[in-house]
Symmetry: C2
Subunit: 478 residues, 2 copies
Amino acid sequence: MALKNKKQDNFSEWYTELVGETGAFLADTRYGIQGAIVETPWAIQIIRAFEQMLEKEVEADGHKPMLFPSIVPEKYIEKEKEHIKGFAPELFWVTKGGKKELKEKFFLRPTGESQIYPMYSIWVRSHNDLPLKQYQSRTTVFRFEPTTRPFLRGREFNFFEAHDVFKSEKEIMKQVKKDMKYTKNVVYKKLGLPFIFVKRPQWDKFAGAVNTYGAETLIPDGRVNTIASTHNLGQNFSKAFNIKFTDENEKEQFAWQTCYGPGIVRIMAGLISIHGDDSGLVLPFEVAPVQIVIIPIQKTEKKCEQLEKKLKALGYRVKYDNSKNTPGWKFNEWEMKGVPIRIEIGPKEIKKNKLVLVRRDTKKKETISEKVLEKKIKSNANALLKNIRRKAEKSLKAAIKTAKTLKDVKKILENKGIARANWCSMDKKGEKCADKLQTITSGGKVRGTLFDKKEKAKSKCVVCGKKANHVVYIAKSY
Amino acid sequence: MALKNKKQDNFSEWYTELVGETGAFLADTRYGIQGAIVETPWAIQIIRAFEQMLEKEVEADGHKPMLFPSIVPEKYIEKEKEHIKGFAPELFWVTKGGKKELKEKFFLRPTGESQIYPMYSIWVRSHNDLPLKQYQSRTTVFRFEPTTRPFLRGREFNFFEAHDVFKSEKEIMKQVKKDMKYTKNVVYKKLGLPFIFVKRPQWDKFAGAVNTYGAETLIPDGRVNTIASTHNLGQNFSKAFNIKFTDENEKEQFAWQTCYGPGIVRIMAGLISIHGDDSGLVLPFEVAPVQIVIIPIQKTEKKCEQLEKKLKALGYRVKYDNSKNTPGWKFNEWEMKGVPIRIEIGPKEIKKNKLVLVRRDTKKKETISEKVLEKKIKSNANALLKNIRRKAEKSLKAAIKTAKTLKDVKKILENKGIARANWCSMDKKGEKCADKLQTITSGGKVRGTLFDKKEKAKSKCVVCGKKANHVVYIAKSY
């Protein structure tokens, strides 16, 4: 059990292999619809773990869970034309029930706005109903995508969306910052995936929104992967869907809205591709379906069983691998699956009352006494997370390079990097430059300006040469 | 805030009102597709609580989670014709993507077999892969139902399904018993909903199965509500979908299968309708989104805040209702929502260092000292569950009446009961009698024979008058 492809040499093949049956087996793409994958127990257990972290974050901040159907009546899309125009080519239509044509056909939701806001317009009446903060998770959405890739782009995929309604404009940007924090608390702090948080240019915002903000990780093939986004919807949707409230002075007002979506499958893709290595997955301790694997070397079954029982009682997810495979085979298998800590027990160790502990990321072996085992598990779990986060952060930083010319940009992107460059305008005026940029760099896009740090442009736009007013980040993307 | 309809007088209106916005607001039926409801935070929190209990049950018994898409390729249904014939009139078809007709159309799953088993036929190879026990939860299925009712019958509804593959026939019935136990542990023990567990007649089994077993609760309008079912699939599906394994002697064999589905929304309907009363929902402590509500009588805010903090720290889901409504209004609201325990604090109580505790089911008031509060919460939570379970059990028992003639059956069903009667045959031979029964009783159906208790028939079939070989339970159903 070993990967045929190296991450460095052929990222794309390495990723496909690691995701598939001969790798860590996270998804089965042999299901009969392109882009609709089957998620295996190993994947689902990881995904659930960080989904629950995200649920906890938004609930701690006052969001309540809700559940909408996956099917949306056609009439709902007539209300927000700009929004739905953006999604129209991707809609799947249900036209038949049994053998009959449906009188009113419906579509499968590509995202929640057009189905949720008609209900919000019923639920929101007075300022006392606001803020209304609700979310749904462990649901799916559907998009008729031309090209697909497991966990990166699918025709049906896991979804998480929070939809907030406020009574004043000033609450909008507060919420955007909170959303960024939820993402940071889970994706960066607990999963060790660093990102840059950008404000998108006007020509690339969410259809119908005032502004879009995105958290971008970098996949090692040099393409950015948006793992969360928040949209400032202003009053655009409340006007389209008639979400009104009577304020403290009994006056009717249109509400202010945001929506937030951490990309569940995208986060999974980040975990696989950013932390994974040539031996397989590398999982943070907190989300690993098996946190500790115990492997006997020769006849040490009894000791292994005792230890498994003890660690289970302490609340760890532990597996004693008593299969008939050789120790070497087991090492490879559990490394492939990304199990953070391996304990090896041989007769030599039993004699000395010791254990061998191996950490997945560094593969370093350490002989310890059983007395300090729990302490060592904790410190190794922490050290693993810190190490993979530090490595990922270093890679991301190293990949961001300042470009002075369009030629520089092209070169940086060719070298799998993100270009930092001066740019004329983030309004529609800058779109022509963006089009040119995309053609010249074969797909490079202005991802946006930094949200949490104001950067001052000093020189000229890398495309048109006119005065630069912004510092932007340019990359190819998924 | 009070219900206009009484449960006893007009169950149907009472149910609709309790589920809706002027009741406990569990579902919004104003969404634009018939039978596709929006589940509110209150409903979702209750449902999640017992879903997690069921997940725990099946996982403790070795099931692993998986996740399949909601969409199924047309080609998958050609494999098991008998099965799909049963579902064909209910299938929703996706025929368009964007503006284009899809080359290969697909349908929305009405249940998981036809999508899961093609993958099982890839995954199962050797006897070492068996038993394969996997499940998916918090997913949805879709059925083009003519009539719909929130949580009882929908066009899209919450789903939970476990699919098990075994290497021998003898494991089948062991699993059926285990499935019954999962249901009992959660639905009966924790939610207080009693049921009878029956083996269905051959003419009413799951399409394609060898046998079907169902857990039936009784809705107070006299119709039974199946809250879980298990199907013994024998080798029918493994032969249709080619699920084979090589046994210990290197011989190829078709596998043996079961599938189990606790009806998530049906359980919710049971909770609402069986425990609910004229003041609203009555929730078992363990699944209540708010377990304890604290209501101040006059100016006792400080004390209430202290108590809320204390109880939260102890791990309870507690809410201090500091809204501007009157105490009476608050009492009604939280009774409607089914909150198990209410604490009232007035100046009189503060003076005496006492609290008033009110239990939702009995509405009995008890003045207690704060010292014994935690003990009292626990004992009241237990007593509430025991009481509502006992009451439900009593109702179910009282509703089951022995019928000697078809006239008896008719009368029992008219009085909202379940008839226990002698019956000729559970094979296809008995179907004619079943058809006649259904016509004469306007919808009465043979639900089956008891699974966990062998009952001996003594006399003649209530319909045809031929020798009775079985004792069956007859009821109208949802």
